[in-house]
Amino acid sequence: MKRIGMVRSLVAVAIAAIAVGACSGGASTSPAASGGTGAAAKYSIGFSNPGGVGNGWREAMLCSAKAQAVKSGEVSKVTIFHRETDAAGQLADIRTLIAQGVNAIIINPAGPDALNPAIAEAIAAGITVVAVDASVTAPGAYNLSNDQEQYAYLGASWLFKEGMGGKGAVVYMRGIAGHPADTDRDTGFQRALKENPGITIASTAVTKWDPNTATTQINDLMSAGTKFDGIWTSGVDSNIVDALKAAGHPYVPIVGADNAGFVTQLLATDGPKGAAVTNPASIGGAGVALALQILDGKKPAETTVHVTPELWSNTDDAGKAKLKAAADPSLPKTWPLGLTIADWTTYSKPELIACKGPGEA
């Protein structure tokens, strides 16, 4: 009897240990502290990010939000929800932020519509809501995003025309199914595909913007013997180049984002032919800047603000120069290089890399 009880409790503990990963929600708060620049630190800001834990872009986005909050001197506290979850989990996180009584909530949305009930509750409670990276449809919410459709269109058009010479099969490596940015990028990608009738899709993969998942997918394709002449990635890029190299597969033209590791690969003499499209992660800091403007009574005329992407290819001199100027091998490989946005963010690059919110030592 006693032994059975012991075995049971051990089993229970083991299962509990496995299960806790599932119910864990990462969240961090910077404790209250006075602002650095003398202005009154009067606002409390919440940030809800529902995915991409361990993805450099998402990490940089959150660091830029913290850095901008510190730099503004107007923010006493930044509460960040950063965990792998679905729309229902993000709804819960937003409601927790409402209950906490923050002044503004910045959201990287899991879906364009699914968060609307909680956003409506936040706005009803007098909280400013800014969606960054992708848009939400809730009335009264502000959207500050990179132009994702243009992002995909620019890269795909370059890949199909310059990279692949107008014909061949492309591997299409998407982000998270249903994420508004992924949906917008798909629109842009399909537009470019339609304009280049010589291009076919060799395979479509949904990477969830997770480097490990994407590596497995490209390895599966190569071991299945799938023939492809080009790869379009939704920003999970440098590990794909690594996987091609490791498998001894000849490089094919590849499009990625302005991530540190990928740009370094594009600049290498034996690197693949490719292009990086800018997708500044500092949109997180820009979101904080916009929220503070609104809180201070300076509302923008439009509720949707787009940041326009650029394309840097290593096949022309102008692109090469831009790649060289942006490259920073000291950054983690999956970190984006677009760490500031003119007119929006005011912190310096080292301040972002330090990744400290108000009051954090």
Partner: protein, 334 residues
């Protein structure tokens, strides 16, 4: 109501210590209620302006996981385990969202009923496979979790569809007092209407008996296979409720579920359901879901680093379960 759901029949206990066993099992649930109150108080201390709106948000956000926990509790009590709970929730969520989009209230009600039947059917298929193939539950339901998840993605490959307005209204906001969230009432009513009568029936006794000892149950003349299939069907039913709660909370169907399966396992372990079967109720797991949610909220309010907070939650979960087991073992010895 609470005593009813939390109570566990003394199927396992010898006649002499029935009263002791009864008290001991209820101590776990009572202890959890105490833990819940402690965490609520702690939340209020950390965040003085945490009040009725916070409770309402909490109730809506735990609703899908609470249904998942009830679903898992039933199958585990009957001696099985269902790793396809999350996938069945996704299937129910997308099916309801696709069928309900731009439809009237009447069709909405029909869809809800249909999805619940679908859930029960899908669950019965899981149970039928377990019984027919004699392959361990964990293997069958793991395999079926991929089947149901894939089916959900075939129905809707990105979040979409819609929810009937009444379905969203039924779980949002309070009823009467701002401290009484509708989501909590929905949870209590559904569990009370479906689980309580069943628990008190011969079928309920058979569930516990099969979970406690399959052989003893068989020799007592219980149709073990049929009982298991019914347990899985109930799990499917409550998973479908969880899926409907997902659709209702966001207004769209979610084809890729969160980690509800593992969360449900964590909740039943903390909720006092024995993974060996035959012991536990559904009130404990529901309270455990709320406690786990409050732990996360408190760690956020306290400003703990996200990664550290994950580790802390694990330690709290294991600590509570181990402490509970130790207390239980002491009692057995005494």
């Amino acid at each position: 109501m609470s005593a009813g759901i939390g109570m566990v029949p003394g199927a396992r206990a010898r006649s002499g210590d029935t009263a002791g066993a009864w008290a001991r099992r209820n101590v776990w649930t009572l202890g959890l209620i105490g833990l819940l109150l402690a965490f609520l108080a702690l939340t209020k201390v950390i965040q003085p302006n945490y009040g009725a709106p916070g409770i309402q948000g909490l109730a809506i956000s735990i609703l899908p996981i609470a249904f998942a926990a009830v679903a898992q509790a039933i199958v585990v009590i009957s001696g099985g385990i269902d790793l396809s709970v999350g996938s069945m929730m996704a299937l129910a969520s997308v099916t309801s969202a696709v069928l309900m989009k731009d439809q009237g209230d009447v069709i909405g009600v029909a869809v809800v009923v249909g999805v619940l039947l679908l859930g029960a059917t899908v669950g019965a298929i899981n149970g039928g496979l377990v019984v027919a193939t004699k392959v361990p539950d964990i293997v069958v339901t793991l395999a079926m979790s991929f089947v149901w998840a894939g089916t959900a993605l075939l129905i809707l490959n990105t979040p979409g569809g819609g929810a009937a307005p009444w379905l969203m209204a039924i779980i949002s906001g309070p009823l009467g007092s701002p401290w009484l969230p509708k989501a909590l009432i929905v949870l209590a009513v559904v569990v009370a209407v479906v689980w309580l009568p069943l628990r008190r029936s011969t079928m309920g006794l058979a569930l516990y008996a099969v979970g406690s000892s399959r052989l003893a149950a068989f020799r007592s003349g219980i149709a073990v296979g049929r009982t298991k299939i019914i347990a899985y069907a109930l799990t499917g039913f409550f998973s479908a409720m969880g899926g409907l709660a997902l659709t209702a909370s966001g207004g769209v169907g979610a084809p890729v579920p969160g980690s509800y399966t593992l969360q449900s396992v964590a909740a039943i372990v903390l909720g006092g359901v024995s993974l060996a079967g035959g012991r536990g109720g559904v009130l404990g797991p529901i309270i455990a879901v709320i406690v786990l949610a409050l732990v996360r909220i408190d760690l956020t309010f306290l400003g703990v680093d996200p990664n550290l907070s994950t580790a802390i939650q694990g330690v709290i979960l294991i600590g509570v379960v181990m402490f509970g087991s130790l207390v239980a073992m002491r009692k057995v010895r005494a």
